[in-house]
Amino acid sequence: MALAERKRPRVAFSDERIEMAHGAGGKASRRLVEGLIAPAFANPVLDTLSDAATFSLGGVRIATTADGYVVRPLRFPGGSIGELAVNGTVNDLAVSGACARALMATFVLEAGLESATLRAEVAAMAAAAERAGVAIVGGDTKVVEHGLCDGMYITTFGIGEIDVRFALDPRSVRPGDRVLLSGPIGSHGITILLARGELDLEADVRSDTRSVWPFVDTLGAACGSGVRWMRDPTRGGVATALNELVRESDVAIVLDESAVPLGTQVRGACELLGLDPLHIANEGQFLAIVAAADAPCALAALRAVPGGEGAADIGEVRAEPARMVVGATAYGGTRAIDMLVGDPLPRIC
């Protein structure tokens, strides 16, 4: 991807302080990375700003990724920080078309953390790594004073081998392509929100954290060459991931809102709190843009994977309105679906 072809507009970062919004995965995060961090390190690989960095080492196509996990509470229904760390890293590689081979993990631990908690976390990571078929081959450990780092922060580095069945490029996305989603959205973000206990809501919602490699692998076998782009919609949700795509590829995406899979209780929580499910984080889903001709077979293949029964075709790529994501209702209403600004906040108005 030649630098000259990239017409990324110059982004300015002028905030005096770092705020929570800068980590929420939406517009503010983008500005921080594009305006402050990336320009300092500028190089052709970095400037693509994809989830994983891809390059060749001695003729082998490699993908690498790095990630940080700072979730609170550490344990929640459906998972824990350690499982997020393993699955999240594996998924970043997977949606870049690479099979994760090895991970490294760095622990920053708060003095006073119970060893039992760390023991449980490490066991969860080992189990998740085994399920994902990846080895944790090294890392580091640091301890900081009591009061810092919310118990535990984990950062990861992952490395994987590019799967040659894929030729992913956001600029190959074209009108007519279909938007596929692996399953129901919003479970992870709502689980975390409820687990914090501030809202006094009870629900049987669980994080969807899992490796999406089995789905990506299946797509590769069914129609690898027809897959244009993939992304795991983590912080910022489906809306943010698709908005990032349309800005890179100058197309439009029109979603059929009634086709977006959504669990009953996630929906109930969103209606009660005034949240938009499209902005809520997911940790076990992925989006794929697939050529129209391949879409039906791709969808069938996804649905045949255990855990993929909820996969759906949620919309299409069009030429207009360029660089926008639009939602369409069954009765002809439309609305623009914007990128998240900061963390999704419940509202009463």
């Binding site: 809202l199 006094d200 809501l201 009870e202 629900a203 109930g268 929580a269 009660l272 009463i348």
Partner: protein
Amino acid sequence: MCLAIPGQVVEMSEQPMLAKVDVGGVRRNVNIGLLEDASVAPGDWILIHVGFALSKIGETEARDQLRMLKAMGEDELAMDEVRGYTFADEAAVT
């Protein structure tokens, strides 16, 4: 303003003026002190806003309104049929 959502009372709390309410499978304690005589029972549908019940559903009003809206469509279809018939009639005459 304001965001308020219908929910169903699932059980009364031991604490006074509180009821556990279900909104699409999500549950929360809701204060029923604003309802006339605070009279709710499990199974009732109420409107919830910031942890308080503002009103109880009027089942008759809800049913009547939806019935009327459905009929709106049916009258339309009946009208279309009549129009179509008239056309055919005219065509036959000429």
